[in-house]
């Protein structure tokens, strides 16, 4: 999706649910993938992704193109939900309770079980994640965004609300901490 098309679609999505669904189709794999790499729990990632898109849809009318791309805004919502999860030690989506969920969302299903089995086989990633999750939250965020999400420094700065210099410094310190743990 190029920037101009996205701008047009986001403006339409403020009033048109069908336009929103196009944005959703584009960003769902990215957001779910990002959340999963951070929490490494398929059910929690599912719930956080649900809450992220709910908050996105709820607040999309307030979104303005002012120095932050739509992608960064969406990642920021997801990051905040992840922080809530780690802070409280469990995840209980609040906003999404207002919507009646189809049964596939609320019951552990074959899909979840298969996804969890697949996750268990990613041994190298899981081993690395065991070390990453011991880092402070801010370091975990920059490592996942830079190396797993392949985000550029500018994008990470937008997502985290920091300067590019601060992001470079955080990445450097995060790597240093992780290196000492390896």
């Amino acid at each position: 999706m190029n920037l101009e098309n996205e701008k047009e679609l986001v403006e339409k999505a403020k009033k048109d649910p069908q336009a929103f669904s196009k944005i959703y189709d584009f960003y769902y794999p990215q957001i779910f993938g990002y959340v999963l790499k951070r929490v490494v729990d398929v059910e929690v990632a599912r719930d956080i992704t649900s809450e992220t898109f709910f908050k996105c849809l709820k607040n999309i009318e307030k979104f303005k193109w002012r120095g932050t791309s739509f992608s960064s805004w969406l990642y920021k919502i997801a990051s905040n939900e992840i922080v809530n999860f780690f802070r409280k030690g469990k995840y209980k989506p609040v906003s999404f309770e207002k919507i009646s969920e189809p049964s596939s969302l609320s019951n552990p299903s074959q899909e979840i079980i298969e996804a969890e089995e697949k996750m268990k086989k990613e041994e190298e990633f899981l081993e690395l994640h065991q070390k990453i999750k011991k880092l402070p939250q801010i370091y975990q965020e920059v490592i996942v965004l830079k190396f797993f999400e392949k985000k550029k420094t500018k994008e990470i700065a937008e997502i985290l609300g920091k300067s590019e210099g601060a992001v470079k410094s955080l990445v450097h310190r995060a790597i240093e901490r992780l290196r000492k743990m390896m």
Binding site: P17, T49, I99, I112, M119
Partner: protein
């Protein structure tokens, strides 16, 4: 492991590619239905006119209202509590003097409002003169009255060893130069329910590093949540 090796490992590691197609489609349907339902909400009343009997219409409206009040909008309690609170002269005064509700929680038929000043809650490195504080109001929802208002002083949340280490890294102060690392009192707090109790938690955690550079003493305030240095102050020569 060398830094370059770690970076290479991070760049080349196989990332899990896991999908949940049913969730993806189900969530989309639920979101669109919610958005569409909200848009269609105002059309419910003309629909009732076409039902036929007035009694049937009123009964249906009442049923929807009760479902919405009790199951869909639990935050209605906060709206009721806010109305009660704003009628209380002491709370009204706090708001008039530049206060606002910073956070709110409902627990065991009581609502709690944390009221503080509108301007930044960050305290200066040197706490001089004026004593900042917030207020915690408890509203009894059953009795529909403000049961108590307590002062909340700046809170100190102890730092773990891990947090002290993080502070040192963010502050970029060599370990040998550090005299002490301590938690800073803060009013950037929020309410949180934990094990059916109400607790105060910091929104952002900060640390103060006191260190020496030669014969000079310095203080650095670092934000552990954002990972940045906020303030540096010269404390004097030894």
């Amino acid at each position: 492991m060398k830094e370059e090796e770690l970076i290479k490992k991070l760049e080349k590691i196989k990332i899990p590619e896991i999908e949940l197609p049913s969730h993806r489609e189900g969530l989309k349907a639920a979101l669109i239905e919610w958005k569409y339902f909200r848009k269609k909400g105002w059309e419910i009343f003309p629909f009732f006119k076409r039902i036929g009997t007035l009694a049937g219409s009123l009964a249906l409206i009442l049923l929807i209202f009760l479902i919405a009040k009790n199951f869909l909008f639990p935050k209605n309690n906060l709206i009721v509590a806010q109305k009660i609170a704003l009628k209380n002269p002491e709370i009204e005064n706090l708001i008039k003097e530049g206060g606002e509700i910073k956070d709110a929680e409902v627990l065991n038929s009581k609502a709690y409002f944390l009221i503080g000043k509108k301007e930044a809650e960050k305290l200066p490195l040197k706490a001089e003169g004026k004593k900042e504080e917030m207020n915690l109001a408890e509203i009894n929802l059953k009795e529909k009255k403000v049961s108590k208002i307590e002062k909340v002083s700046p809170q100190i949340f102890p730092l773990s060893e891990e947090e002290k280490k993080l502070a040192q890294e963010i502050g970029r102060v060599e370990k040998e130069k550090i005299l002490k690392i301590e938690s800073l009192p803060t009013l950037e707090i929020e309410l949180e329910k934990e094990n059916k109790e109400l607790k105060l938690k910091p929104k952002e955690k900060r640390a103060l590093i006191i260190y020496k550079e030669g014969n000079e003493k310095w203080a650095k305030r670092v934000n552990l949540t954002k990972g940045e240095i906020e303030e540096i102050e010269f404390l004097g020569k030894e």
